[in-house]
Amino acid sequence: MGDHHHGPAKGLSRWLFTTNHKDIGTMYLWFSFSMFILGGAFAMIIRAELFQPGMQLVNPAFFNQMTTLHGLVMVFGAIMPSFVGLANWMIPMMIGAPDMALPRMNNWSFWILPPAFLILASTLFMEGGAPNFGWTFYAPLSTTYAPPSVTYFIFSIHVLGLSSIMGSINIIATVMNMRAPGMTYMKMPLFVWTWLITAFLLVAVMPVLAGAVTMMLMDIHFGTSFFSAAGGGDPVLFQHIFWFFGHPEVYIIILPAFGVVSQIIPTFARKPLFGYDSMVYATAAIAFLSFIVWAHHMYTVGMPVAGELFFMYATMLIAVPTGVKVFNWVTTMWRGAMTFETPMLFCMGFLVLFTIGGFTGLMLSIAPADFQYHDSYFVVAHFHYVMVAGAVFSMSAAVYYWLPKWCGRMYNETMGKTHFWISFVGFNITFFPQHFVGLAGMPRRIPDYALQFADFNMMSSIGAFIYGASQILFLYNVIATIVAGKPTSEAKTWEGAEGLEWTVATPAPYHTFETPPQVR
């Protein structure tokens, strides 16, 4: 584990061989941001093509590669690693641990990620092009009819899955074994709680994804027929396995975001989080329900009516714990003394837009209505409201919130607020009209569309460019802060902040809590 009393090593080897949770967290965050930019670039190509009816910039085959890579890169490259980075930075500091439980493995779980995505991105230059079957890669489009690059895609899924599993094991091991004396489970900050539950979900379902892609690999190269009717298999089986992974995956993405919001709102409301216990139970309930609702993604495959009803009822139930969370956050704000710095603004944006995404989610859970919504732009609007306004907004909030602690410099508040307002407006211009075109009958994943959808699509594209541009401002603000931000050395950056991470010096020293704090 190296000598804890040194500062960081010099040069490249600091990053290559580091076992320091803060270094690794930093690398995760930068990696995920670069993937966010890459996935965003794919999105810009998609929106540029959809700016007007007719094919202008790319051909339909390439368009499909863009939608596929956009989804894969954003889910597995941007959002998930960003929260792992945040977990690396914050969990040891929040529970009073000197580092992660398994620092060497921590290094490996990060360093296998960039090669995995390098392989995935390199498929763009391969014969037959990149994967073009959507991020949900339904068989047989992804098996019998896939481009040759599918083998590389499978390999990169295996590697990034391994990375996620190792990262999760590390987080669980850390939370279960490294808490400071007195830090009982029910005293842990909510971010730690949500991550603990998320990590369990990851350990449970990433192997399922690995199983699904392994079956694909066997079907493609070793003559099995898991997903091919010709040999006695079934393409629908793929969808069941995929969504058995896929639905918990959705909560893997959003639960840490819930954790972030539950840290930030009390700080700026200057009032403790309302209903801490119920927040923990609601998170656990959502995690449990995520395992029994997967087939609501497949209402139109022709399930027996009993199946449809079961998955409909189970899915509707998710609204209860999710509602509890939203009510708790609003009540936390109630009769507080609020200020609206950038992190708080992003949390407010999260609260409003995530709730809208939750409502459309409830609408989508209603099986008969879903026959109209399914695979339309309504779905695209729904999941961007929860993914972007949920996960990405909360991630932005987290960066602004903890950046002063990380680098000892204060970001530019005006620029931060500008970033928020531009993203908020850009986001809504992009995705709100997508509800309309979806309800009017526009299917998702199409490179060209009927004239009746033209206005809203143009609006969407303009919004997307605005939203995309606002992220450049974000990048600039973060770099400017690190390089030349106003130095701050207050341990507690925010007046209302609570938690162990605010008891250490600012900027956080390379090693913290080498002697565990006493929590009362």
Binding site: G54, Q56, A61, N64, N132, Y138, L141, A229, P235, A269, R270, K271, P272, F274, Y276, D277, G302, V305, M312, Y313, L317, A319, V324, V330, T332, M333, W334, R335, G336, A337, T339, T355, F359, M363, I366, A367, P368, A369, F371, Q372, H374, D375, S376, I429, H435, F436, L439, G441, P443, R444, R445, I446, D448, A450, L451, Q452, A454, D455, M459, I462
Partner: protein, 384 residues
């Protein structure tokens, strides 16, 4: 472009328009689909009850949203530090927690009841008056009317929009991308059962106004049904990503009166008989070229290019196949090239069309082979 000026004006009004359209969400007229912002009740009873369900849940969400956001914005305004408030410290209340667990649960039950009844209605497949087998192909639909006496009528339904409109060299028509060469024709006020399957990958047959969406899965059949109560032309699209031209395989359903339907079916059957007769005929080069050009544009152009220059497919102009011996050319046209995008067209176009398009390919694009392929040659080739 026709709509451009309008579009720009509306864009300028973007946010206002969004609010306005939200307000008018309930009142969207089915007639004018431009900038339609809500689901259409469509032309069926099921469509109407799905629409009602959709609006019910929408309004419940709006009310809950208004309450939650109302409290939130009240708090944002009145409970600000700048107003000099001191924060209170309460942080739990079991009673409140129980209330907002139980009340939403009850509301959900209120939603589940109508949802269940609509779902059960949709799942009532029985007692259909006619059956149509729908098969999804990359990238077109095939419709087959199942007939008691085995005289099934079947045809393919291809996108009719010319490549020029898609690639912006021609003005886009009113039904851009939502028009086909041959629509599905069904009678009004008749329960029509659709059996849905696919030939290659998963597709999904969707017509919003008929309230039908069902996945077409290779190897398996799914069933669904509709009963349209208003005559008209209803347009939809493939909803499941199915490869390159997923966005270019529309569904058009023409709902006509029962009489008109009966007449149409007779014509289709007569046409089938006529094709059998045509097969025995001999055509001149000109006749074959005219027919062949039409077949080419419908089936080959997307991959092989308007001038046979190739694209996804190989070039036909000057190709060794089109300029080689006839039987090799026929073999590829009929049986395709396994493992490539070149499909076996033998089962998709009839022998007259095959003869015409092979002749066309051998004589157009500067190939000028000068040889003719007659339907009987195609028939014989298939026979072996």
């Amino acid at each position: 472009m026709l709509l451009k000026a309008n579009r720009l004006r509306e864009l300028a009004l973007g946010p206002v328009l969004m609010l306005l359209s939200l307000a008018s969400a309930g009142a969207a007229a089915a007639g004018d689909k431009v900038n339609q912002v809500n689901m259409a009740p469509g032309a069926t009873e099921i469509g109407q009850s799905i629409y009602d369900l959709h609006m019910l849940i929408f309004w419940i969400c709006v009310i809950i949203g208004a309450l939650v956001f109302g409290v939130m914005f009240y708090s944002i305004y009145y409970h600000r530090k700048s107003r000099g408030v001191t924060p209170s410290t309460f942080h739990e209340s079991t009673k409140v927690e129980i209330a907002w667990t139980v009340v939403p649960f009850l509301i959900l039950i209120g939603m589940a009841v109508p949802a269940t009844s609509t779902l059960l209605d949709i799942y009532d497949f029985d007692d259909a008056e006619m059956d149509v087998l729908i098969t999804g192909y990359q990238w077109k639909w095939k419709y087959e009317y199942l007939d008691e006496n085995g005289e099934n009528v079947s045809f393919f339904s291809n996108l009719r929009t010319p490549q020029g409109e898609i690639y912006n060299t021609a003005e886009k028509g009113e039904h851009y991308l939502l028009e086909v060469d041959e629509p599905l024709v069904i009678p009004v006020d008749t329960k029509v059962r659709f059996l849905v399957t696919a030939n290659d990958v998963i597709h999904s047959w969707w017509v919003p106004e008929l309230a039908v969406k069902k996945d077409a899965i290779p190897g398996f059949i799914n069933e669904t049904w509709t009963k349209a109560s208003v005559e008209g032309i209803y347009r939809g699209q493939c909803a499941e990503l199915c490869g390159k031209d997923h966005g270019f395989m529309p569904v058009v359903v023409n709902v006509v009166s029962k009489d008109e339907y009966a007449g149409w079916l007779e014509t289709k059957k007569a046409e089938a008989a006529e094709i059998r007769e045509l097969m025995a005929q001999t055509f001149t080069l000109d006749e074959l070229m005219t027919r062949g050009k039409a077949v080419y544009e419908r089936n080959c152009l997307a991959c092989h290019g308007a001038n046979g220059e190739g694209g996804v497919g190989t070039a036909i102009a000057g190709s060794a196949i089109a300029m080689g011996d006839v039987s090799g050319h026929l073999e590829i046209g009929i049986n395709g090239v396994p493992g490539s995008a070149m499909q076996a067209f033998g089962g998709q176009i009839n022998d007259v069309e095959m003869a015409a398009v092979i002749t066309y390919q051998r004589n157009a694009f500067g190939n000028n082979m000068g040889d003719l392929v007659q339907p009987i040659d195609v028939y014989n080739h298939k026979k072996g």
